[in-house]
Subunit: 433 residues, 2 copies
């Protein structure tokens, strides 16, 4: 229904002027936060979990072929790690894990397992590069899920970590529901696993309750306690998963978990595309040099098709209207310089912008551009007059590009049919519709 | 395709146990940020802008009847203010503004106008309760949009504000693109308008570039400069609009702009529902007493239909899977206590949760619940056995609830057809499919 080509529903006039020569205009904000030595905003790594967290999405059923297609695309896109469902989940999960390990991808392959020696042994045998080990540490999960106390958790964690390291693999240890866990227990546990040489500790907002400054505080505190890397995982129940990931990086986190379109348990986690929208604004050189951003839409379409959802209309970057400008005042400025109302450059993602001129909110600058696109010549006064006609019709009913174009063409035709005298004295010219 | 009733696509088993008696379980996090006297998290007001910002959404065309329907619904929902398109935008916009003012709603009616005496005069005559005045202050907008300098902006602002106040109306003065404006210019301008008695100053992230801690810093700084209320407006280009609104409230902002589903220019602004998902976690008593949360889905559906979009699959609260639990480990805990994996209570929004049991990631606890729902009696060992059968089929192809139910019923039937001896010694029982 809503085509991203702008010809259907979006009523868009392709702004052809900006895309090629605007690079220099995309200056960042003059109001910058004071630099912070903790920040990893310009050197973060992505652990892409579409094939683990994403498999927990209600609609997800990935057969082996689909998993391989997604893994290859993410690898080409440039993600650092690809995380897979535990081989303990099912027999096919184990086989798929082995198959993806054999693809010889540049990205490291991880699998996500419970903090349990049986699961760890099964995972090590699949050929993965590393294990993401997890256990619930909140009182909620300790009471209602596994029933273990903190002393038992620490003892088991160290056994499992030492076993994985003895096999020469990378290992992350994460709490689950970190933001509802006791802070002292959590720091004590992380310090213990850091001492035995874990590669990363993980902070997980499993229920999506964390807020940005809370994330900043917890990660910054943890940064002072452990020397290993810090991975973070944010659910989106309260709509903060992208912002929380950003604040985690500001506080010294090194790795962010994502999934394509954010798919995962409930309404999911930090989306890959949304995170990169945030990061390309804050660290443009790093992001553009590391990730093949023009592949984003193709990867999102692939996953959306596999799980039978539509890309949300308001998705950052790839939503059908992410680069559509409608209000007259916006359109005027955008036509002068795209960075007036755009912080993202659509060309970086292989996309284009649209200036919407067929509405009651349009302005004559947008219409002037359209007149130019139609190859017609009019004075500014004439353009203002035809703009008033377009607005008048759009006040009565929704109008399509074709309607607006017809008004423009008809008006233009009438101009040349008028006697020269009438044109010279600027008399109003009525369009016959 | 994705039904929110969970029977189509979501493969959900309605978790009937939790909704009624879980209120007491929804404790907030034990890890709370240190209290802050600046924070307005538990006393914010909403300026609902679906009928202004939302009208700038690519697909939006609201006729008078639709505008009135939306305004009435938002009023009943409990928003403090309803903001309308400038009467200067078009003749019909002016008439609609007058019509909505005459409805006698509890919510105050605002209209959003350029910082221009002609626009202000036109707006005052419509009968609105207040005017939201705006002008671009970033170097981008000063160069490429209106071309005015800061001295001119301040002089005009004071004239317009004094005029509106002389008419006995409420007035807000906002910069546009505040996060790319010179900080000293901005504070100086706000101090000047505060001195002449403006009701609110507004901070607007017009291009969606702001990050949460940057928002906190700017609003906190502004809080020390002006004595009036502070309104904030956040675009979602980089996915931070909800988090930024939250951080603004933490820093002392008093009013948040929203639109239903976030519709607006490009990919829109802070969504009403998403903001309330965030706020109900942080200030449950205030939010639940003030807003009719059970109306949220109906209002979102109304606006989605009017602008011809689908509610995003991953929308907070109302996305079809927002309360669907799939992984076995999650399902087990949720069935014990919903707050293990839910920070939001679906019952607060008139919704229900689903525990997804028809997948390869399922666990026997979820299947046990389903067996109970089907009115069948089985021992735990038998349930574990039938769970293995469900997982085996789900490893081969996507399965629907009906498939899983068939396996359960067929297995149950076979149990009673077995000779007593075979049941007693626990011999494996094969299901004939």
């Amino acid at each position: 229904m809503c085509g991203s080509d702008g010809t259907n529903g979006a009523n868009g006039a392709n702004g052809t002027n900006g895309a090629a020569n605007q690079g220099a205009h995309f200056r960042s904000s003059p109001y910058q936060p004071v630099g912070d030595f903790l920040s990893n905003v310009n050197k973060f790594k992505i652990i892409e979990s579409t094939l683990r967290e994403g498999e927990q999405f209600a609609n997800a059923y990935f057969d082996t072929e689909t998993k391989i297609k997604i893994a290859k695309a993410l690898d080409e896109f440039g993600v650092d790690y690809i995380e897979l469902t535990s081989p303990a989940a099912s027999e096919q999960s184990r086989k798929d894990c082995e198959a993806i390990c054999k693809l010889g991808l540049k990205a490291k392959i991880l699998t996500h397992v419970r903090c349990d020696m049986r699961d760890a042994k099964l995972a090590v045998e699949t050929g993965v590069d590393g294990l993401d080990v997890v256990i619930g540490t909140s009182s909620f999960l300790r009471e209602h899920s596994h029933g273990k106390d903190m002393a038992y958790i620490e003892k088991t964690a160290i056994e499992v970590i030492e076993y994985i390291k003895s096999k020469g693999l990378e290992v992350r240890f994460s709490s689950e529901d970190s933001f509802r866990s006791d802070l002292v227990d959590l720091l004590s546990l992380y310090r213990a696993v850091d001492k035995v040489g874990v590669n990363r500790v993980g902070i997980a907002d499993t229920v999506g309750c964390a807020s940005p400054r809370q994330v900043y505080d917890l990660v910054r505190t943890l940064r002072g306690v452990v020397s290993c890397d810090i991975e973070t995982h944010f659910h989106d129940d309260t709509g903060c998963s992208i912002a929380n990931a950003f604040c985690a990086l500001e506080a010294g986190a090194t790795h962010i978990d994502t999934s394509v379109l954010g798919i995962g348990e409930r309404n999911g986690i930090t989306p890959l595309g949304g995170l990169l929208a945030r990061m390309v604004v804050s660290a443009p050189d790093y992001v553009k040099s590391k990730y093949k951003l023009h592949m984003l839409k193709e990867i999102e379409d692939m996953v959306a098709e596999a799980v039978e959802v539509n890309t949300p209309f308001n998705n950052p970057i790839t939503g059908f209207c992410a680069f559509t400008h409608k209000a007259g005042i916006h359109a005027k400025a955008i036509l002068n310089n795209p960075s007036t109302y755009e912080i993202l450059n659509p060309a970086d993602f292989g996309l284009t912008r649209y200036v919407h001129f067929a509405s009651r909110l349009t302005g004559w600058n947008a219409v002037k551009t359209r007149v130019g696109q139609l190859g017609l010549a009019m004075t500014d006064d004439q353009i203002k007059e035809v703009t008033a006609k377009i607005k008048a019709l759009a006040d009565v009913r929704p109008i399509a590009i074709d309607d607006a174009d017809s008004i423009i063409r008809s008006f233009h035709l009438t101009l040349h049919e008028q006697p020269a005298a009438a044109q010279a004295n600027g008399a109003p010219v009525e369009v016959v519709q």
